[in-house]
């Protein structure tokens, strides 16, 4: 603690060291009191519990949702990978998620670039418009989209799903990319120009490599968002197009099908993996 304070405010050093550590430790066993520790432990338990039960559950040998399972097997994974309906739902979801990720990254990336670089009136309004799908209650967004898509014959079509999910993914993509762009040092552009680079060369050799991690994060976010989205998908679904989360929803509400346990575990692993990729790339770059 005291180290951090000295690191951020070097001017204040002389006055501090004698007083602070002792004062901070007063009444505390070297850090957090037991009351605080208990609350932190309880909160951590609430945060961890769902993830902690999903994976063991998928190896259950029983045919009910009883937890913990009495015996273990791979039967639900077998059931998942051999069921035509589950595999079709998985394929549909992955295909749609890829399309959504591409669409949202292109639209959102361009928007973030424009918002970051251009000064024009109405900029605040456009930012609000981009963030609005996050703030408007999600059920209202879903029902509104369903309402007009029925008239436009977009329900049950891939393009309908892609549009619906892109609307919801855009706030995430734009935010992630704006954050990445705000750390962009634009004197580098000027430096490249001074050294004789054309705007195109500057863009390709300076801008693109620098914003690539942000673009990747945006892409990963949009992909995972679409892969996981249920509410819009529930309204837009048709017998031909059922996404994996919708199939999972139905397997709890309509039929008690424990295959969902295997599907859940796979989903947890897949989403974590996709979201981790940009982080690893970033770390590798920074250590290089």
């Amino acid at each position: 603690m005291s180290k951090e304070a000295t690191a951020t405010e070097p001017d204040a050093v002389p006055a501090e060291p004698a007083v602070e550590p002792a004062a901070l430790r007063a009444g505390k066993d070297g850090g957090l009191g037991w009351g605080l520790k208990t609350v932190v432990a309880l909160t951590s338990l609430v945060l961890i519990a769902p993830t902690a039960v999903v994976i063991p559950m998928s190896f259950s040998g029983g045919t009910t949702f009883a937890f913990p399972p009495k015996d273990w097997s791979l039967r639900w994974y077998e059931s998942f990978f051999t069921s035509e309906a589950w595999m079709r739902a998985l394929l549909t979801s992955v295909q749609l998620a890829l399309l959504v990720a591409v669409t949202a990254t292109v639209l959102g990336g361009a928007a973030a670039f424009g918002l970051n670089r251009a000064g024009f009136p109405g900029r605040g309004a456009i930012r609000s418009l981009v963030m609005a799908p996050l703030i408007v209650p999600s059920i209202v967004v879903a029902v509104s989209i369903y309402g007009v898509f029925l008239r436009w014959h977009l329900t049950g079509t891939p393009i309908g799903f892609v549009i619906g999910h892109t609307v919801m993914a855009l706030p995430f993509v734009v935010t992630v990319m704006l954050t990445s762009l705000s750390g962009y040092d634009r004197t580098l552009d000027t430096a490249a120009a001074t050294l004789g680079a054309t705007p195109l060369t500057t863009f390709l050799r300076i801008t693109v490599p620098l914003i690539a991690p942000g673009v990747m994060s945006g892409f990963a976010f949009a992909f995972v968002y679409s892969l996981d989205e249920v509410v819009i998908a529930l309204f837009l679904q048709s017998p031909d197009i059922t996404t994996l989360p919708v199939k999972m929803y139905n397997s709890i509400t309509l039929e008690i099908d424990p295959t969902i346990a295997a599907a859940s575990s796979l989903m947890v692993v897949a989403t974590s993996f996709v979201l981790l990729i940009p982080q690893f790339v970033r770390r590798k770059r920074s250590t290089r």
Binding site: A5, E16, E20, L24, G31, L32, L36, V40, T43, L47, I48, A49, P50, T51, V54, M57, F67, P68, L107, G108, A111, G114, R117, A118, G119, F120, L129, V130, M131, P133, I135, V136, P137, I139, V140, V141, A142, V143, S144, I145, Y146, G147, V148, G164, T166, L170, P171, A193, V230, P245, M248, Y249, I252, T253, A263, S264, S265, M267, V268, T271
Partner: protein, 295 residues
């Protein structure tokens, strides 16, 4: 900001960036058009339909007041939202505070833990709570151990609340943490050296300084909770339904877009009111961004 960049660069290059800046402005056009057509128009359309279907007028809204169910469900939804926000705050405040006090390594671990709900698929999460909350589930068993039988949260508002609190925790912890990190800890020492007991230093110095973060986190959680459909649909019960379930039933069972639109408009107005009140005190959009970008 852009003006200072221009003035800082040499005069000869000042003109080119300006025209390029105008060009770059067009980049926002596709996304703006996309959202106007596929987000703003549908939203406006359903609000319009709430005043025009089946007949023009306020019929849908007077019906909402008279049918005896909608108002009850609306109140239940708002109360649930407040309870979820309060419980989330109660867990998140100490957690965020602890994050400012531990070693950087422990802090990283706590950040990973608090982000777990973000990383866990929504359906997987709800399925997990379904298992935990059912009869003879882990929660029921744990309470039986200490002699309290029959704690079946599944099918109750309490069950819905627990699941919502879990997923909302990152939205509260992250803004709180970044707010608390900005509080100069020496102020507490100063209060202490002036004779204030620890609790008093906390209540009179620390708490007021963390209040903006508390307010924005609370509002964000409350607003987001209002739109939840899957969690109440899976973990709640039709007897204790919330507004989102009512909207979904109106639309999918009755194709009553007018009625659903009226309910949706009410939800939207509540959201905007909450935003308006809070925006006078804090910058909510930066909170949202912090939560989204996990800062």
């Amino acid at each position: 900001m852009s003006a200072s960049t221009v003035s800082a660069s040499p005069v000869s290059t000042a003109r080119a960036p300006r025209s390029r800046r105008r060009l770059v402005g067009w980049f926002i056009l596709p996304a703006t058009a996309f959202l106007l057509v596929f987000f703003a128009y549908p939203l406006g359309n359903i609000i319009w339909r709430s005043f025009t279907e089946p007949s023009t007028g306020l019929e849908n809204y007077t019906e909402l007041l008279k049918d005896g169910v909608s108002v009850k469900i609306l109140v239940r939804t708002l109360v649930t939202g407040l309870i979820v926000a309060a419980c989330t705050l109660a867990l998140a405040y100490p957690y965020a505070y602890a994050m400012t006090r531990v070693s950087p390594r422990a802090r990283n671990l706590m950040t990973v833990v608090v982000l777990l709900p973000f990383w866990t698929s929504m359906m997987a999460r709800n399925f997990a709570w379904y298992m935990l909350e059912q009869r003879d589930g882990l929660i029921d068993d744990a309470f039986s151990l200490i002699g309290i039988d029959g704690v079946v949260l599944l099918g109750s508002v309490a069950g819905v609340t627990v699941a919502m609190v879990q997923v909302m925790l990152p939205f509260m912890v992250l803004p709180l943490y970044s707010g608390m990190e900005g509080i100069d800890k020496r102020l507490l020492n100063a209060a202490g050296s002036l004779g204030a007991p620890r609790w008093r230093a906390f209540v009179q110095v620390y708490l007021p300084l963390s209040l903006p973060a508390v307010l924005s986190g609370f509002t964000l959680v409350f607003i987001l909770t209002l739109g939840f459909y899957v969690t109440p649909a899976l973990l709640g019960s039709p007897q204790q339904s919330l507004i989102p379930q009512l909207i979904a039933t109106r639309v999918s069972d009755l194709l009553d877009f007018g009625g659903a639109g009226a309910l949706g408009s009410v939800l939207l107005v509540v959201t905007l009111l909450a935003l308006f009140v809070v925006s006078r005190f804090v910058n909510l959009s930066s909170t949202t961004e912090k939560a989204v970008t996990h800062e």
